[in-house]
């Protein structure tokens, strides 16, 4: 150990008692799946953690039936304040078991314990606490008086923030009065199953939340199930497209939170050291496995060399290694498959002529790892400037004028996030106005809060999660203001339809 090196400081695994295998959580109980079980591993060591069940179509059907039964029999009849009380209970239970959940998440996902402990799990509790308070205040959600719940929500979530994405999906759905069938990502099902135990501790009525595990086929069966009224998906734009196609012609309400290629714009008057930390936070937080990552750095030409030099110096201090170590900044890539994709696109970046620079760090022998990497001399036509890499890889482009920065930032089919670094408030406001992105961070990056709506423009999807607007994704107006959708409503969910014509004058009152 050299002077100023860190001693190892691993978080204890002792408070986590994993089972050998996990079943499906349907109708309040754990049951064996009828598909072939699969192993979940620790991506930092490739060691086996537990066996996870696979739900086949019959299991999906059982889960949707349980959710429907719970919706009709219990949840839709419960008062808003009682629904809220269950959500408050869940928030508190998450807080009580926060450390255990953080350790489990780090083991299963590979992300550093300091992130699961300080970001993921606290946000999970915050999300339930926030939406708990909404459950008896739905008149103020922005969809008119007495809004109605939708019914059964099918929710499919990704592996990058497993429990956090679960909270983003389940909390607003339950607050609005829906019941849920949720499918976690194949590689990160563990914390969802621990969450199922929390639901049992909270004594949530059976069937209100069902959690089924499996691969993409399970998710597809769930999304396509005729008994669901709502589909909420977070993941790749390709799968989002497939879902948008598959719900065509149905009455299912859809929200999609998809990919991104966020521009992080640094102007010449920005506080450079803070901007450098923001760039690091934007692309190396969670190994860059972030749909809203600032994966394109747009830096004003006059300060390019200075910013890149300081960025490299800062990156050299990033500590890559054991995710359970409290000093670790960069954890493991979540899967061999994802690592292969990151490698492929990075190699392509080199082939296309961009200049590659990676942190000189020791890569552990086992597990999936990728050293933080930046590409300079990137052209807008390069694939690393256009495609989502979903890893710790930053593409650096330059601009001369604010207009050029805006044009380059918007030059993407995505529109999820963007960052602006400048000391000039009026410039920040003007640039923020012109960026076509759903979430913009000014002199910060990758901030999340349950009260703040999150979601994309363009091919980054539609619908919002978080805030009042996130609630609206799980509600419909009491009456459809006179117009009649010709789309057939599935059984049990016929929307109240006004028979009489509503004139403009009446509606105007």
């Amino acid at each position: 150990m050299k002077f100023l090196d860190y001693a190892p400081a691993p978080e204890s695994r002792a408070l986590l008692n994993l089972k050998d295998d996990y079943g499906l959580f349907i109708n309040g109980d754990f049951t064996a799946g009828r598909g072939t079980p699969f192993a979940t591993i620790n991506p930092a060591t490739e060691q086996h953690l537990a066996m996870i069940a696979t739900a086949n179509e019959a299991d999906v059907d059982a889960a949707v039936s349980a959710a429907r039964h719970a919706y009709d029999g219990v949840w839709s009849r419960l008062s808003g304040s009682d629904r809220g009380k269950y959500l408050f209970r869940i928030a508190r239970l998450v807080q009580e078991r926060a450390r255990e959940l953080a350790v489990a998440e780090t083991l299963d996902n590979g992300k550093p314990i300091k992130e699961t402990r300080d970001a993921d799990i606290p946000l999970v509790a915050a999300w339930f606490f926030y939406y708990a308070g909404w459950a008896d205040k739905l008149d103020h959600a922005g969809v008119g008086p007495n809004p109605a719940s939708l019914g059964v929500a099918a929710q499919v979530i990704p592996w990058n923030f497993p429990l956090m994405m679960l909270a983003w999906k389940i909390a607003p759905a339950l607050a609005a009065g829906n019941t849920v069938v949720l499918k976690p990502a194949e590689t990160t099902s563990l914390t969802a199953m621990l969450f199922a135990e929390i639901l049992q501790q909270a004594d949530l009525p059976a069937g209100v939340v069902n959690i089924i595990t499996g691969d993409g086929m399970t998710g597809q069966a769930l999304v396509n199930h005729p008994g669901v009224n709502k589909v909420a998906f977070t993941g790749s734009t390709a799968v989002g497209r497939a879902i948008a196609r598959s719900v065509a012609g149905t009455d299912k309400k859809v929200s999609l939170e998809l990919g991104g290629k966020g521009a992080n714009i640094v102007f010449d008057d920005a506080p450079i050291d803070q901007a450098v930390d923001g760039i690091v936070r934007g692309i190396f937080f969670n190994q860059g496995h972030v749909c809203c990552a600032g994966s394109r750095l747009l830096v004003q030409e006059s300060i390019h060399d200075d910013v890149i030099e300081r960025l490299k110096r800062r990156m050299q201090t990033l500590r890559l290694g054991d995710p359970l170590d409290k000093n670790t900044d960069i954890g493991a890539i979540n899967s061999a498959e994802q690592l292969a994709r990151i490698r492929e696109l990075s190699d392509l970046g080199q082939q296309e002529g961009a200049e590659r620079w990676s942190v000189d760090c020791v890569i552990p022998d086992n597990g999936f790892w990728f050293a933080p990497t930046i590409f300079t001399n990137v052209a807008t036509s390069h694939r690393i400037a256009r495609e989502e890499i979903f890893g710790p890889v930053l593409s650096v482009l330059t601009f001369r004028t604010p207009a050029e920065a805006i044009a380059k930032a918007n030059n993407t089919p995505y529109g999820l996030s963007a960052g602006i670094w400048s000391d000039k408030g009026s410039r920040i406001l003007a640039v923020a106005d012109k960026l076509r992105a759903g979430v913009i961070w000014a002199n910060t990056f990758n901030q999340f809060d349950p009260s703040s709506p999150f979601g994309g423009f363009k091919e980054s999807g539609y619908g919002r999660e978080g805030g009042r607007h996130g609630l609206a994704a799980y509600l419909k107006p009491a009456l459809r203001s006179g117009s009649r959708s010709i789309v057939a409503a599935p059984e049990n969910t016929a929307a109240p339809v006004s028979k009489k014509t509503v004139s403009a004058k009446k509606a105007a009152k």
């Binding site: 915050a126 922005g142 969809v143 734009t237 989002g240 497209r241 948008a244 196609r245 065509a248 012609g249 999609l256 998809l258 089919p413 529109g415 920040i428 923020a432 992105a437 759903g438 979430v439 913009i440 961070w441 000014a442 002199n443 910060t444 901030q447 809060d449 009260s451 703040s452 709506p453 999150f454 979601g455 994309g456 423009f457 363009k458 091919e459 999807g461 539609y462 919002r464 805030g467 009042r468 607007h469 107006p477 203001s481 006179g482 117009s483 009649r484 959708s485 010709i486 789309v487 006004s498 014509t501 509503v502 004139s503 403009a504 004058k505 509606a507 105007a508």
Partner: protein, 287 residues
């Protein structure tokens, strides 16, 4: 002795101009009782693409106009429509076969609908956006912004003018630009509305009106990569599931077909359907 009347040539309305279809095609528009009224332009795929280009070039100016300005421009449409009531009543009576009083009522309601939506232009942001009380030293604000280019299939039912206005006005409120495929059987009031738009203060390209066969034109709009949203309100008779499927390719925002006379009834939700919520986090200094 009666003076010999001068019939109007009904053309498309694209980019503030009135071109014929580039295809050179027309189709016969008949009155309710089957008499010849006009040869309307039969819009083609190329016309639809030209309209999208016009809508895209107009988007920046229209979405960047102040809400007060957009409200006044939309109100101005009502003013000019009011001045040409007689012409619209006449066209509606001929093509829809309704009574004078029914046609008048329809024109009145169409005018009032412009007024109702005009008033929303500088208010919907206040109603649909808000500050968010996030933890930490940030000022966080969410505001709705226009989605972009909205392709609309106008209602194909009885009330040709009211249906058209009800579909395009809400999309315009937020600053979207529009390509609309008019009522196929009763397109005359749509083209006459184009004349109203051209002589009001609506910039060219903000509204583009295509006449012809929706079944032929709409698939090109549904699959067009530069169209951001698709309002299928009048698409009940089309293969609208296929249209939704092709719209999924670029993740367009899609509204489903509606049936009945109250299709596209006035509602704030129609404005918000073609908006995107933008949330901006501003860092506060720690004092």
């Amino acid at each position: 002795m009666n003076r010999l009347a001068i019939p109007k040539t009904y053309k498309l309305y694209i980019g503030g101009k009135f071109p014929r279809s580039e295809s050179g095609r027309v189709y016969e528009v008949l009155s309710h009782s089957g008499e010849f009224l006009a040869n309307a332009a039969k819009g083609s795929r190329k016309d639809a693409r030209d309209a999208v280009v016009a809508a895209r070039s107009a988007f920046r100016g229209w979405s960047g106009a102040s809400p007060y300005n957009r409200g006044q421009v939309l109100y101005r449409i009502a003013e000019l429509l009011e001045g040409r009531r007689a012409q619209f009543v006449d066209e509606i009576v001929k093509s829809e076969g309704t009574s004078d009083s029914d046609a008048s009522a329809q024109v009145d309601e169409a005018i009032d609908r412009w007024v109702w939506y005009a008033g929303w232009a500088d208010k919907y942001v206040q109603v649909a956006g808000n500050a968010n009380p996030v933890s930490g030293a940030f000022f966080n604000l969410s505001v709705p912004e226009p989605t972009g280019i909205v392709a609309i299939v106008a209602p194909q039912g009885a009330q040709s003018l009211l249906g058209l206005v009800s579909a395009i006005a809400p999309a315009l409120v937020a600053g979207n630009t529009v390509v609309v495929v008019a009522n196929e059987n009763a397109p005359l009031s749509a083209i006459s509305l184009g004349e109203v738009l051209a002589t009001s203060d609506v910039p060219g390209g903000v509204v583009n009106i295509l006449t012809g066969s929706p079944a032929e034109i709409v698939p090109w709009l549904a699959s067009h990569a530069d169209v951001n949203a698709l309002d299928l309100v009048g698409a009940a008779e089309l293969d609208w599931v296929d249209l939704q499927i092709s719209a999924a390719e670029t993740l367009k925002r899609v509204l489903s077909p509606e049936a009945g006379e109250d299709a596209a009834a006035p509602a704030l939700s129609r404005i918000l359907a073609f908006t995107e919520l933008k949330t901006v986090w501003h860092t506060k200094a720690l004092l």
